[in-house]
Symmetry: C2
Subunit: 139 residues, 2 copies
């Protein structure tokens, strides 16, 4: 075995991964609903980027927010939509979302399906700034 870290396969089973713990997206609050987060790769391997899996339950949503760091997102489960500034776009399996530095964004699952996506970010990143959710969508 070469390298400082250990090459391995992390086994998938029904949108959980062996040895990976699902945690809350953020501390409880009004700005989000029904989101879990799993850290797949990054901190343990001293990678310069982190690979996370987020899953939003049917009807749930992430915080409407912006930050300086960019998001690279790939949908791997269900459907929903993303708000990028003032426009909403539908999302389903395989769609890739690029969120530019500073762009206000929010993810929402469909009413009857979860929305699950990989999100890759810089290891070093700034904290999100919450924005007023002015979308008029019932919470």
């Amino acid at each position: 075995m070469s390298g400082e870290f250990f090459s391995r396969v992390i086994r998938f089973r029904d949108y959980t991964w062996k040895g990976i713990r699902a945690v809350s997206y953020k501390p409880p609050g009004e700005s989000w609903s029904g989101v879990i987060r799993q850290r797949l790769l990054g901190p343990e391997e001293a990678l310069p980027f982190h690979v996370r899996y987020f899953e939003i339950e049917p009807g749930g949503h992430t915080t409407f927010e912006h930050h300086d760091h960019q998001h690279s997102v790939i949908v791997i489960r269900g459907s929903g939509r993303v708000r990028l500034e003032d426009r909403w776009e539908e999302l389903s399996f395989g769609d890739v979302v690029y969120v530019a530095s500073g762009a206000a964004h929010q993810f929402r699952a469909a009413a009857d399906e979860p929305l699950g996506f990989l999100c890759i970010v810089d290891a070093e990143r700034d904290r999100p700034v919450h924005l007023e959710d002015d979308s008029g969508i019932a919470k």
Copy 2:
């Protein structure tokens, strides 16, 4: 719209993405067979990492090789296996593979299914070193 780059959704359709061109994995050679590559995000957005999608056709394989940079892989289509140094592990949807710095590795699709995976790497990375394929698997 904020930021230097443009937030957007890149639409998926049958393992191709709108506006993204599929290219050969490497120049033609004996070391690999039936692999295409699509660059989803990275260079255009000046990201410190690149997100690529590789697809190996049934029976095909990547080069057996090593390099200093790490691989973060997530399988999103079909099945196959990965060689990590001297062991082979089966792969199917959702499995995550971490290839450590310097670890010899090779991906192979199943005989009757493609193997498609996302592979995230540092934007700055060294060139792979080909190794003799001593697996005894017919090419």
